[in-house]
């Protein structure tokens, strides 16, 4: 079983690295198309938004504490872009709401 687990880990690690490395090494020239360039500019904003919602609602013990974390994150990110403070604020909001409930 032990050897088996290592095989799984090697296979998965190589697969993930290949996905990350192939475009970075093959696309060495700057893309000219304005469409492609703006498409790639929008990618991070769309991906991170799609990943956050609604997944965040099922991340904690219940929907209400998760919603509090989400709202806290949005509000903090709006006024303060610091990654750590926003992340902490979201965690604290979840903790407080779970204590009240």
């Amino acid at each position: 079983m032990n050897v088996n687990i290592w095989l799984y880990l090697i296979a998965a690690a190589l697969t993930i690295y290949a996905i990350r490395a192939v475009p970075m090494t093959l696309l060495r020239k700057e893309l000219k198309s304005p469409f492609l360039r703006s498409f790639l500019y929008y990618v991070p904003y769309v991906t991170l938004s799609v990943m956050t919602f609604p997944a965040i609602l099922s991340a904690t013990g219940n929907v209400r504490s998760a919603a509090a974390g989400f709202i806290a994150a949005i509000a903090l990110a709006f006024f303060d872009g610091n990654l750590f403070r926003v992340a902490c604020g979201a965690c604290i909001a979840v903790y407080i709401v779970e204590m009240i409930l």
Partner: protein
Amino acid sequence: MTLTRSEWYFRGLKAGIPIGLGYFAVSFALGITAKQAGMSVLQCGVMSATMMASAGQFAVINMIATDGGIALTVLSTLIINLRYLLMSTALSQKIMNNTSILHRLGSAMFITDEMFGVAATTEGKVSPFLMYGMASASEPGWVIGTMLGAAVGAILPVRIVNALSVALYGMFMAVVIPPAHKNAHLYPIIIVSMLLSTIMTYLPLFSGISSGMRIILLTVIISAAAALIWPAGEEA
């Protein structure tokens, strides 16, 4: 902007510290799950150091727990992590033009949602040393968190684990929202992304689609639509 390599590296270190703390919190849960699947603390550390992918690693652990087979592991890893293909494509354009193959291969290792998010939303071109700096500060958090989760995770109160599990989502919001102050197109894009993601998650018609696939489909469709409507992109 012309920064030296060490200036880029330190800039990355600074940006990487909060990411590392967030990683530390979230990877705890990963370690707890991995332990339950029969993995050793060492295997947890190696997994996190070589993969740096939360959803992707949960899928791998699931495959190990059910002994799903290597072929299926590669296939599911490919699908769940396919968004990194898009991120790598975007980063290939964002990284300085004169970056060597070696540094492209090196920085590709650290394309995670968070590090990509920071690099891609930085103004102008970025150096691979920004990625190295971020990775130096954040990867230890991910690796140590996973190992600690596997070693002692079960003793942590549920309420704390619950609270910690929103840390990365909070970070995602801190990456996407501030640039929207400068580029007004981003607000509608963020809102539409969340709306369509909700619809695809809960509408029975789409319920057969895995979360990894949903992320890719929506990223391609919404980014393409946005690029058609507001082709100015970064210059807007």
